[in-house]
C-alpha cells in the first residue's frame, strides 16, 4: 500500500492507503475527501478533481500531458503545481505524496 495525504481547503488532513495503479482521484472519492467532485468520473473531461501537488513532490509526480493541460484551462485558480487527480496513478515512488484541495472546483 502507498500512503497519500490529502489536505482539504480547511486544513484537515486525510491520510489514506492507496493501491498502486489506482488514481489519486479514486482514493479521494473512496475516502470522502471534501472538495474533490470528479463530475465526469475520471475521463479527464471536466476539471473538477483539481489538486495542488505539494512542492516537494512535483518532480516525482511529473507534468500533465497535453489533454490534461487543456482540461486544466477550465479549473479554478490554476497554479504551476496544479494537476487533475484522475490523471495521477499511484505507484511505489509516490509513497508519502501530499496534495492540497483547492478552495473550489470551477
Amino acid at each position: 500500500m502507498t500512503k497519500l495525504t490529502f489536505i482539504a481547503h480547511d486544513g484537515t488532513h486525510f491520510d489514506v492507503d492507496a493501491e498502486n495503479g489506482s488514481t489519486v482521484m479514486e482514493n479521494a472519492i473512496r475516502n470522502a475527501v471534501p472538495g474533490i467532485e470528479a463530475e465526469c468520473g475520471g475521463a479527464c473531461a471536466c476539471a473538477t478533481c483539481h489538486v495542488y501537488v505539494d512542492e516537494a513532490w512535483t518532480a516525482e509526480v511529473g507534468e500533465p500531458e497535453a489533454m490534461e493541460e487543456d482540461m486544466l484551462d477550465f479549473a479554478y485558480d490554476v497554479q504551476p503545481n496544479s494537476r487533475l487527480s484522475c490523471q495521477i496513478k499511484v505507484r511505489d515512488a509516490l509513497d508519502g505524496l501530499v496534495v492540497r484541495v483547492p478552495e473550489r472546483q470551477g
Binding site: 463530475e39 465526469c40 475521463a43 473531461a45 471536466c46 476539471a47 497535453a66 493541460e69 487543456d70 484551462d73 477550465f74 479554478y76 485558480d77 490554476v78 473550489r104 470551477g106
Partner: protein, 343 residues
C-alpha cells in the same frame, strides 16, 4: 418560429436515455420530439467524452460513448423522432384539456400529452470564470456568447480562454472592437493551429494583444466594465482597459428552469416512483441521471430500464382504457412491422 408543435411525448434531453425512450415509446406507437441545449444528440456522451470507451453496456464489452450514441440513433430511426437542438426548455404549463405546454428560451411552443425529463446532469451552460464580482457585469459588459457582433463595436474587448471559441472570436471581433486583448493562462492553445497562427501574426502587427495569465479582478460601475487585472504573466500584474469581456471557460451542467416547474426536488434531482418513474406531477416523468429514488445508480443501463417502465405508464395516460399487450421484439410481428424489419 410560429405555430405550436404538437407531439405525444416531449423528451427534454437527447442523451442516451432520452434516445432510448424514443424506442420504448415508439413500440407503443407514441411519437416523440426531443429538445436539447447542445447542437447534437448524445448529451454528455457526445459532449464530454465521445472517444472514451464504456464497459458496462450489456452486450457491448467495450463501446465508445459516441459509438453508443450512433447505435442508439440507428435503433430509434424507425420511429422518426423529431429533434430541436440549441434550445433550453423554459416554462411548463399544465393544460386544462390534459397535457402540457412547454416553451423554449427562443419562444417555440410545444404541446405534449406527456413530458419526459431525461436531462442528465442538467443543461450545459457556460461556466462562470472565478473572477470576484463578475456577476454584476453579466449581460451588460460580460457575455458568454456572441449574439450580435455590433454589441462589441468600439469597445475595449478582453477575451479569456484558449479554445476555438476564444480564438475565433478574437479574430472575428478584432476589426469591430476598439482593442482586443486575448488572455490565456499559457502560450499553448487547444484551438485550431491555423487560428493560433493568425492570432500571433496579428499580434506581430500590433492589431491585438495576447497576454499569458489569468484575469483576477475587474473594475467598473453600474454593470459597465472599465478595466481588468491580469496576473501571472511575465510582466507581473497589469491592468488593461476592458469595457466588454467574453470568457470561454467551457461548460457546466445546471438544472436550470426545470427547477421552477413545481416538481418536488431532492438536492437538484427529481424524485420518482420506481414503478412508473413519474414525478410528483402526473404525466411528467423523469428518467436517467436526473431522477432519484432509493438505491438509484447513475448508470446508462439503469436509465434504459427506467424508460421501458415509463413508456408503459405514459401509454396508459395517452390511451386510457386501451389494453396494452406485452410483446417481445424477437417474436412479435406487429413490433417488427414498427421496426421495419418484418418480411
Amino acid at each position: 418560429m410560429s405555430g405550436i408543435i404538437s407531439t405525444d411525448v416531449l423528451i427534454v434531453g437527447a442523451g442516451p436515455v432520452g434516445l432510448f425512450a424514443v424506442f420504448e415509446l415508439g413500440l407503443l406507437d407514441l411519437k416523440c420530439h426531443l429538445i436539447d441545449i447542445l447542437d447534437k444528440p448524445g448529451g454528455q456522451c457526445a459532449e464530454l467524452y465521445p472517444e472514451k470507451p464504456i464497459y458496462d453496456i450489456p452486450g457491448w464489452p467495450s463501446i465508445s460513448a459516441q459509438g453508443l450514441v450512433d447505435k442508439l440513433l440507428e435503433q430509434v430511426a424507425p420511429f422518426k423522432p423529431d429533434f430541436t437542438y440549441n434550445r433550453m426548455v423554459s416554462s411548463l404549463e399544465k393544460l386544462d384539456e390534459g397535457g402540457f405546454r412547454v416553451t423554449t428560451d427562443e419562444n417555440e411552443v410545444f404541446e405534449a400529452k406527456v413530458v419526459v425529463i431525461a436531462a442528465g446532469g442538467g443543461s450545459f451552460q457556460p461556466k462562470r470564470p472565478p473572477i470576484p464580482g463578475i456577476e454584476a457585469y453579466e449581460g451588460t459588459s460580460v457575455f458568454y456568447s456572441v449574439r450580435r457582433m455590433e454589441e462589441f463595436r468600439g469597445h475595449d474587448l478582453v477575451i479569456v480562454g484558449g479554445g476555438d471559441s476564444a480564438l475565433d472570436w478574437t479574430l472575428n471581433l478584432q476589426p469591430v472592437a476598439r482593442s482586443v486583448t486575448l488572455v490565456h493562462r499559457r502560450p499553448e492553445f487547444r484551438a485550431a493551429p491555423d487560428s493560433v497562427n493568425k492570432m500571433y501574426a496579428m499580434q506581430e502587427m500590433k492589431e491585438l494583444e495576447f497576454r499569458v495569465g489569468q484575469v483576477t479582478g475587474l473594475t467598473g460601475a453600474d454593470g459597465q466594465l472599465a478595466s481588468a487585472t491580469i496576473k501571472g504573466g511575465p510582466d507581473g500584474d497589469i491592468e488593461v482597459p476592458c469595457t466588454r469581456m467574453l470568457p470561454f471557460f467551457g461548460l457546466t451542467m445546471k438544472l436550470g428552469p426545470i427547477a421552477e416547474w413545481g416538481l418536488n426536488l431532492h438536492e437538484n434531482l427529481i424524485p420518482v416512483d420506481t414503478e412508473k418513474f413519474e414525478t410528483s406531477v402526473r404525466g411528467i416523468f423523469a428518467v436517467g441521471d436526473i431522477n432519484w429514488y432509493p438505491g438509484k445508480l447513475k448508470l446508462i443501463l439503469s436509465g434504459f430500464h427506467e424508460v421501458a417502465l415509463m413508456a408503459q405508464a405514459a401509454k396508459r395516460i395517452i390511451s386510457p382504457g386501451e389494453r396494452i399487450v406485452f410483446q417481445y421484439t424477437t417474436s412479435s410481428t406487429s413490433l417488427q412491422k414498427k421496426l421495419g424489419v418484418s418480411e
